[in-house]
């Protein structure tokens, strides 16, 4: 049966057949086989691809852009509250509102705890060039506030090292300048709010535009402390009565 012609072509034919077989096994096998070469892991990380796209796999944020804040290490109750505020339309940013719209409180809590538990180095983002006097004024507001205008120091609520306080107060160190100043703008234009009394809206209304620049620049250029964990619950006595603090269990 074997002819010269077929013997000559045997080798290329075999190669082609092998290739075809490989393609056949490879391609449709992908679809049909549940144990795909790249199976989808059953992890929270995989489930929350939607969050990770902007905030990073470990909640490190996108320091390059300035507007996607770090979530890693922030108190879980704070993070869950933010999602709830987006859901209720108190905080306004369309992509976030859409993303969290259908999430249950339990799922939001789980996501908040995931990001809260992440420990990744802080990235630094660019701070606009401002004079030393501006930084000095910013640091004054951060550490002492401005009692004559009833502006409390940032540190009085956000902790002496500005790393936040469990369970509801976020850290401020390492946040980008753009993000901080944008948030003050949001409180003033009522696109960021939370349960009343909304302390940060009050503080933002008392700050002047130049104060906001100063605080944002001072915070964004501050050296990071060695321990960036949030302070324990009850370690500060806030000078204002805040809904977010009243809404959680009284530490006393």
């Amino acid at each position: 049966m074997t002819t010269n012609a077929s013997r000559h072509s045997a080798k290329p034919f075999a190669t082609a057949a092998l290739l075809a077989a490989a393609l056949f096994i490879g391609a449709p096998g992908h679809a049909a086989d549940e144990s795909d070469p790249a199976p989808i892991p059953d992890t929270l990380q995989q489930r929350i691809a939607s969050c990770i796209a902007c905030h990073g796999e470990h909640g490190e944020g996108s320091p390059g852009s300035g507007y996607f804040p770090r979530l890693a290490g922030k108190p879980a109750t704070y993070l869950a509250r933010q999602m709830q505020d987006f859901q209720n339309g108190l905080r306004k940013y369309a992509p976030m509102e859409y993303t969290v719209r259908q999430l249950s409180p339990e799922y939001m809590r789980e996501i908040a705890e995931y990001f809260s538990a992440q420990q990744v180095p802080y990235g630094r983002s660019e701070v606009p060039t401002v004079s030393d006097a501006v930084i000095q004024r910013g640091n004054e507001l951060v550490e002492k506030g401005d009692p004559s205008r009833q502006i409390p120091a940032c540190a009085s609520c956000h902790g002496s090292q500005l790393t936040g306080v469990e369970p509801s107060t976020p850290g401020l160190v390492g946040l980008p300048y753009d993000y901080i100043s944008a948030q003050f703008g949001s409180w003033r234009t009522h696109t960021r709010a939370t349960v009343a009394p909304d302390c940060m809206a009050l503080v933002a209304s008392r700050l002047s535009d130049s104060d906001i620049t100063a605080v944002a620049a001072a915070l964004a250029s501050r050296e990071l402390p060695a321990d960036t964990h949030a302070q324990p619950a009850g370690s500060v006595t806030p000078p204002l009565s805040c809904g977010v603090l009243g809404a959680v269990e009284d530490p006393s």
Partner: protein
């Protein structure tokens, strides 16, 4: 000759006055007080009736409009956006001052059945009485009993923004003459009890046709248009055709696919998102398996559709599709797979997915831009999600990848242009 002219003038004046009375005359209805109602107040407190009402209120997705984000349940306090302006949504809790506290069942039935308010005023059809009119009296009674059992919430209506002439309620008389036929659902004796139950739910409380049919320039749905799909005004999502037969939006869907989608938010054929995700979360996931099967039975009986028109060849779709293949390989393939089949139970297929191939491409564009989670339901409490690509991809890249998925595998829909994508970037979320 002179007499004739006078007569004509007289007839003209009478006609004008008649039309004016028809358009501007007040409804002039006296509300029926709860005390004067034929339904004794005590009978509304029957726990079984209230429980039945809770189920039907979920089936009718009343919360979808009557509960504001972050607001008290059923207390209104928001508006519904329409092309004619924003229409305030009323408080339907039994608050005496701002809700239905002083309403009788007669008042309630009239609003649901006839779209007429307590004082005879015509209601705007953003309230889907066009569908609710088909509900049975027993079901309306249960719904009323449930609403009256809620904790009263004081919440006045917010201001709407309808402009003239839409602000003239009596203009609705003309609209109603064109689009509204009041009347309870009439079962079709030629069909099974299950089919009739499905038809009752779909056409009545489910008010599916309010979104799943195209509205014309007056915001109405002509009577013969039934579940053939349509763009939802202002919200800019496309509610697909619901026929499972040839050329239908759900062509090839089994009853199980339909039930799965309504129960869990996703099925082997696709996942819900946007407004339908809210419907699943608020409404259909709570419906019994029997009712969901009935809905599937009814939808499966919808007739085949005409073949879609050939996509226009106004621009070079092939170049776009080629560019889209690269975007797909980089950003989409790891989840939706090279063959567009997705991953069962996790990521929906794109091949044959009605959200991908619907006529406008709006859904695909907005999903690529927004990403998001599948709805959280009892059956799927921790859904997987899709990253938003609005930040990462340009209009050109989004148009390319959408053109690719709409024209790959078994899909033969039109390509999309970058200009269209830029339009959908601006669509508000609410």
């Amino acid at each position: 000759m002179k007499h004739l002219r006078w007569w004509l003038l007289l007839v003209f004046v009478v006609v004008v006055l008649g039309v004016a009375w028809w358009l501007f005359g007040s409804g002039g209805r006296e509300p029926v007080s709860p005390q004067a109602s034929a339904v004794p107040a005590a009978s509304l407190k029957d726990p079984a009736l209230v429980e039945k009402g809770r189920y039907l209120v979920a089936a009718g997705d009343c919360a979808g409009c009557h509960t504001a984000r972050g607001g008290a349940d059923f207390a209104g306090g928001r508006t519904v956006a329409t092309p004619f302006g924003n229409i305030p949504v009323p408080n339907i809790t039994p608050d005496h001052e701002t809700g239905l506290g002083d309403w009788s069942f007669e008042d309630f039935e009239q609003s649901m059945r006839h779209g007429v308010g307590r004082h005879g005023e015509l209601l705007y059809p953003a309230f889907p009485y066009t569908s609710y009119t088909k509900a049975s009296r027993d079901d309306l009674l249960a719904i009323f009993a449930y609403l009256q059992s809620l904790a009263p919430a004081q919440q006045p209506a917010v201001a709407g923004s309808l402009e003239f002439p839409y602000s003239v309620r009596n203009g609705l008389k003309a609209w109603r003459a064109l689009y509204f036929r009041a009347g309870e659902f009439k079962p079709d004796p030629a069909q099974s009890a299950e089919w009739n139950r499905g038809a009752y739910l779909v056409q009545g409380l489910g008010h599916c046709n309010e979104c799943h049919a195209a509205r014309d320039s007056l915001g109405g749905t002509p009577g013969d248009v039934h579940l053939t799909g349509g763009q939802i005004p202002v919200q800019n999502w496309y509610a697909p055709d619901l026929s499972t037969q040839r050329h239908g939006g759900l062509e090839g869907w089994t009853a199980k696919d339909i039930v799965d989608l309504l129960k869990t938010g996703q099925s082997a054929r696709g996942a819900t998102f946007g407004p339908m995700a809210e419907v699943v979360v608020n409404s259909t996931q709570y419906m019994s398996d029997e009712d969901l099967h009935a809905i599937a039975t009814y939808l499966e009986s919808l007739p085949p559709r005409d073949a879609p028109a050939e996509p226009s060849r106004m621009f070079d779709a092939d170049t776009l599709v080629d560019a889209g293949a690269k975007v797909y390989a980089e950003h989409c393939e790891s989840c939706h797979r090279a063959d567009g089949k997705g991953v069962a139970g996790i990521y929906p297929p794109l091949d044959g997915n009605s959200s991908v191939t619907e006529p406008t491409g709006i859904n695909a564009a907005r999903i690529v831009l927004l990403g998001g989670f599948a709805p959280v339901t009892a059956a799927n409490p921790r859904p997987y999600s899709m990253p938003p690509f609005a930040q990462q991809l340009s209009d050109e890249q989004v148009a390319a990848v959408i053109s690719y998925i709409r024209r790959s595998w078994g899909n033969h829909a039109s390509a999309m242009r970058a200009e269209d994508v830029s339009k959908y970037r601006q669509t508000p979320i609410d």
